[in-house]
Symmetry: C2
Amino acid sequence: MATIKDIAKVAGVSVTTVSRALNGYDDVNEKTRARIKSVAEELNYSPNAVARSLVKSKTETIGLLVSELSLSGAKDMFTYEIMCGINDSSSNKGFDLILFSTNSAKQKAKSYSQLCRERQVEGVIMQGVKIDDPYLIEVIDSNIPCVLIDVEIEGENVGYVSTDNVFGAQIAVKHLTNLGHRNIAIMNGHDQALVSQRRLTGYKKQLEEASIPFQENYVLNGNFNEQQAEEMAYSFFQERPEVTAIFCASDLMALGVMSAAKRLGLKVPDELSIVGYDNITLAQYVQPQLTTVDQDKYQMGYKAAKLLIDMLEGNKTNRKVILDNQLIIRETTAEPK
Amino acid sequence: MATIKDIAKVAGVSVTTVSRALNGYDDVNEKTRARIKSVAEELNYSPNAVARSLVKSKTETIGLLVSELSLSGAKDMFTYEIMCGINDSSSNKGFDLILFSTNSAKQKAKSYSQLCRERQVEGVIMQGVKIDDPYLIEVIDSNIPCVLIDVEIEGENVGYVSTDNVFGAQIAVKHLTNLGHRNIAIMNGHDQALVSQRRLTGYKKQLEEASIPFQENYVLNGNFNEQQAEEMAYSFFQERPEVTAIFCASDLMALGVMSAAKRLGLKVPDELSIVGYDNITLAQYVQPQLTTVDQDKYQMGYKAAKLLIDMLEGNKTNRKVILDNQLIIRETTAEPK
DNA sequence: TTGTATGCGTTATCAG
DNA sequence: CTGATAACGCATACAA
């Protein structure tokens, strides 16, 4: 492992000169620079980012905090696609990504700021955190820049990227009301998810616009879980045969609802219209193909990293990025009989 | 940002003592240790891993080198599931993960060992690299420990984890021959993938055991790409109506073949039996559900990280981990008519 | 244009 | 049991 010291010795100059030569300072003779460079190559030198970080107190590293990097997320490719976006965006800017995967056990052992300062990350991107996650409060107070995905907190050092979930839900439900449905249920996630709150709002909003009274007992919480959604839907539709359509806050849950419909002998879309949310890969492979609201996950990640790096570089940009989403009409929706 | 220096000042001791107290050395008075600890807490101290790394020349970091962390991999969750396994395994052992995503452009700019030494990673896991990847030669010569996934290179500092691809292909084809098929094609990936070579071997092996002559023109290369596989299959089956079954080296390609069959009006499985490889999520959602060979991707990642860490810790373990895979019989295979 | 000296935060060596 | 001091590899203020 050659160091600048070794190069200095061989090249017959001081370490200072080596450092400056290699870092492109212009106050160094081009001839010596050339010599130093060739020596560096000869010695197969590569700079030690650790040492450099220490002295510059800059690591060029951003932390990626995913609440659960687990197989449970394997079906919806949510986390993965976001990561791809983050990765592309940040590697463009020369930042490396370090993976912080935590669970509640680890959270107790190590606070958010400890985690960050320990690794000296310059900023962090958080994804998949619930609204009551203890780290969230820390983020606000902390002075290390952070961008949240799908959690709407804004501040001096914190921004977020999300999609317009109220709008997304509304176009989904509007599609249903336009088709003539009046009794529309909603399979929501859980109250700790901001997106769930928003989507419920969008659902209500569209009901109101269509002059349909909101009914509390038409809202179910499937916890974003396929099985759970299936079970809930199974018993729900037995009790509520008047319901002809359901809006689901995730495609995974929509899949669960489809299974329930199958078990109940309800024909989709003739007897039951279903619209999902996310546009996961599976959505276009199931039969019938799922009508859903598309979110550009890659773009969310990409923009998140971009925002963070802008913040790090001191660019005065909007700390709030809202992306569009769009309705993808496929085969699970139709007019009520 | 409090440092041990600050603590030392407040606690009225030297930095040495602080360091030792905090790191649990036993040659420090328990009373002073208690005092130091309380001061540390008070100052909200967290150790600077960068500084520590510099002096110990240990970063407790392993590099994850994925040839392409891209959306193209979003359908098969291959990379993601492997990452989950790696992450769980390595975080158990206190290693952090740093993401190196490269493409050929970056590879030209920076060599493998430069990449590693720069970030001072202690070891690396590589996934998704082709057999002719320039980094691969470097890995062998390099003295930094590395474990490859699905690339069978073994050495002083390099190990690998893979599944038994010969066996996997063989059980797939055996399933077909057992059903009575005699004219069996293979949709392989490409020659730069070791797994393709192995699976071809398995295919041939089983043909031989079933006394079926191997036919060169029954092997197609779909480049692990759904569209490409579809196109190739589309023209192939027009020319070769005698073929009643096909073994695909990936589920994605099997999906492509299914589309081709649909376009050609070939009924699956009655007129054409298809078996895939990977057991991706989609496999059980398509109609008919895909018969395939399951690989435990999570486990591959988990074992890879475990092997690497064993190597790092100097444990004398086998540098070669081969996992089982198993045939999952679903609905795309049947006896030939 | 180049070199000397200093420090980043930590651990290790050695002496007390 | 504790404290100076050096060292890790690099960058930078200042001097020459």
